[in-house]
């Protein structure tokens, strides 16, 4: 995907600076709202919203879904949905400013685009499933729970890194 008029993407900011900024955002989230950050909870509710459109009876019979969308409850009427919407918007605006909004597939040099898509989908499934099992994703559990010193969040964070390093060797061709 080479375009001659392709604008030159801006550089990423220094990781320590990004970490500091993210920390300030996280602190402000806690300070203002009492809640940390999150992502998978928002995805969950968006999914349940569509499930409720397609199969409301099923939602009303499943205990896990009932709490979010049972009866006339709207699963989107929740702060995490707005946080998630804001995350997409913020990512988009920053991408625009630094000229990084571009329809493309980012992948390692030795796999095909199709393989990358397949792996992305498979990894996504694991990620979504694991995030619900662990009651949180990297942002909600590791980042937010880690900063307020939750024991479970630190155990979770170590497990995520451990899982990644455990399989890294077997998937080295996908990335290197």
């Amino acid at each position: 995907m080479i375009h001659s008029e392709r604008p030159i993407a801006g550089r990423y900011i220094n990781p320590y600076l990004a970490g500091g900024l993210l920390g300030v955002v996280l602190f402000l989230a806690f300070f203002v709202t009492g809640n940390g950050l999150g992502a998978s909870g928002g995805l969950n509710r968006i999914l349940v919203f569509f499930q409720d459109l397609v199969a409301p009876g099923h939602v009303d019979r499943t205990a896990y879904l009932l709490g979010m969308a049972g009866g006339d409850k709207n699963p989107l009427d929740h702060w995490i949905v707005f946080l998630t919407g804001g995350t997409v918007l913020g990512g988009f605006v920053s991408g625009l400013i630094f000229k990084r909004v571009r329809l493309e597939t980012v992948k390692g040099p030795h796999i095909s685009v199709r393989t990358r898509w397949l792996l992305a989908f498979a990894g996504g499934i694991l990620m979504g499933y694991g995030a619900r099992l662990a009651r949180g994703c990297t942002s909600g559990q590791a980042l937010s729970g880690g900063a307020v010193l939750s024991v479970g969040s630190w155990a979770f964070m170590l497990a995520v890194f451990a899982g990644g390093y455990m399989l890294a060797y077997f998937f080295r061709k996908a990335w290197n």
Partner: protein
């Protein structure tokens, strides 16, 4: 004093606008850090580029230092912010699965959102996969509900686990992070061919500042229950004086029999009196254990009512202050304690008890020949046969603290 009472200030729409704004900042920083680019994320696991580690731990220690510093200085009420409850094994197994998903798919849910926002096709597909995984979980969780709810430790924090002061833990984690940053730079030098000497010198100043702030947070300390009570006494003391929180034994009987209420009865009396006589289903707690007990009460369901029981009201009144200072909602004192209770419900040989002579005594003034514990009729009065007149005082108050975090909701 944070967290702010957002609903009161901004209304529902305003609250959602604030969350949108916070999300915006979150997404923008993730994008600026390069987290929409899956190659940067995956490189973490091949030691070449440690951006993920630097950003994550940089964010955690920065937020942590700010949170505990402002809590120590009284700007932020730690008991009112959301601490992810610990479900140890589901968290670890889920984390491992996510680690697998990370190295296979190249994102986590948050980063896939910014990848999607910047039109990375792999990010869009990953997000669809994540939605499908969440869907699968919703359909299958009923098969292992037991495991999913196992090893629940509630709001369990590292200072409690290690029995260290919060400030000490904050400093240890900051030092650990700085050491990890140093290690990460060494790995990048060896595996990624990067020269740490070219990184901005300002990072040393940043690290130094975090260490200094962590040391300051030790010095400042965290507010004790007494400090918090001092601050809220003007507002809460009238409740005690006007006897708005002392409930009549008849109301407690009705609460015991109310299926809609999750009643927690804490008996604060010493062991001897407790063994002589106590109510059915009470938990015997020493007054100095109440602070720890408050943590599980904070994460208890919305319909939880806590009743404190003493021989009279001395320890229950002090305990009430502790729990209220810790932010526990719906705490009540049993009026007149066990003495008044037994005056009403009676017991064998009650005629010999010096009841009327010392009505204000804090001692247990009922005489039992042996320790019968909860084996007495008065331990579990039948609400049907005894209908008592009383002024109802229990009003279920909604918890101020967030009910659920960003991921478990």
């Amino acid at each position: 004093m944070g967290p702010l009472p957002l609903e009161e200030i901004f209304g529902t729409v305003g609250v959602y606008a604030i969350y949108l704004l916070i999300g915006f900042a979150f997404g923008a920083v993730l994008e600026m850090a390069g987290f929409a680019n899956t190659k940067i994320l995956a490189a973490q696991f091949y030691f070449k580029d440690q951006t993920v580690l630097k950003v994550m731990f940089g964010a955690i220690v920065t937020a942590m230092v700010l949170i505990f510093l402002s809590s120590g200085l009284g700007f932020l009420d730690y008991s009112q912010i959301w601490v992810s409850p610990t479900y140890l094994w589901p968290g670890i197994v889920g984390g491992l699965i996510m680690g697998f998903g990370f190295i296979i798919g190249g994102f986590c849910p948050g980063t896939s959102l910014v990848a999607l926002a910047t039109l990375k096709i792999d990010g869009i597909i990953f997000t669809l996969g994540a939605l499908f995984g969440i869907f699968l979980f919703g359909e299958t969780v009923s098969m292992f509900e037991g495991f999913w709810n196992s090893s629940y430790l509630g709001r369990f924090t590292i200072p409690e686990w290690l029995d260290l002061s919060t400030g000490a833990v904050v400093l240890i984690i900051v030092l650990m992070a700085v050491f990890m940053f140093w290690g990460a730079e060494q790995l990048e030098r060896i595996f990624g061919g990067k020269n740490p000497a070219q990184a901005p010198k300002l990072r040393f100043a940043g690290a130094g500042m975090l260490v200094v702030l962590a040391v300051v947070s030790i010095d400042v300390g965290q507010p004790t229950v007494k400090d918090v009570w001092q601050r809220i006494a003007a507002e809460k003391e009238p409740l005690l004086v006007n006897r708005s929180v002392q409930i009549h034994p008849g109301e407690l009987v009705d609460l015991i029999n109310d299926d809609q209420i999750n009643l927690v009865m804490l008996d604060l009396r010493d062991e001897v009196d407790y063994n002589l006589f106590h109510l059915k289903d009470v938990v015997s707690v020493r007054s100095d254990e109440l602070e720890i007990r408050s943590l599980s009460l904070l994460s208890a369901p919305q319909n939880t009512v806590t009743a404190l029981i003493d021989n009279n009201e001395q320890r229950s009144t002090e305990g009430w202050k502790v729990l209220v200072a810790e932010g526990v909602p719906n705490v009540y004192i049993l009026e007149g304690g066990m003495n008044y209770w037994l005056d009403i419900f009676g017991h064998d040989g009650h005629d010999g008890c010096p009841t009327a002579t010392q009505p204000d005594s804090q001692e247990f003034r009922h005489i039992f020949n042996m320790a019968i514990g909860a084996g007495h009729l008065a331990s579990e009065p039948d609400s049907e046969s005894i209908k008592m007149e009383y002024t109802s005082k229990v009003k279920l108050e909604k918890k101020k603290a967030p009910k659920a975090g960003g991921c478990s909701s």
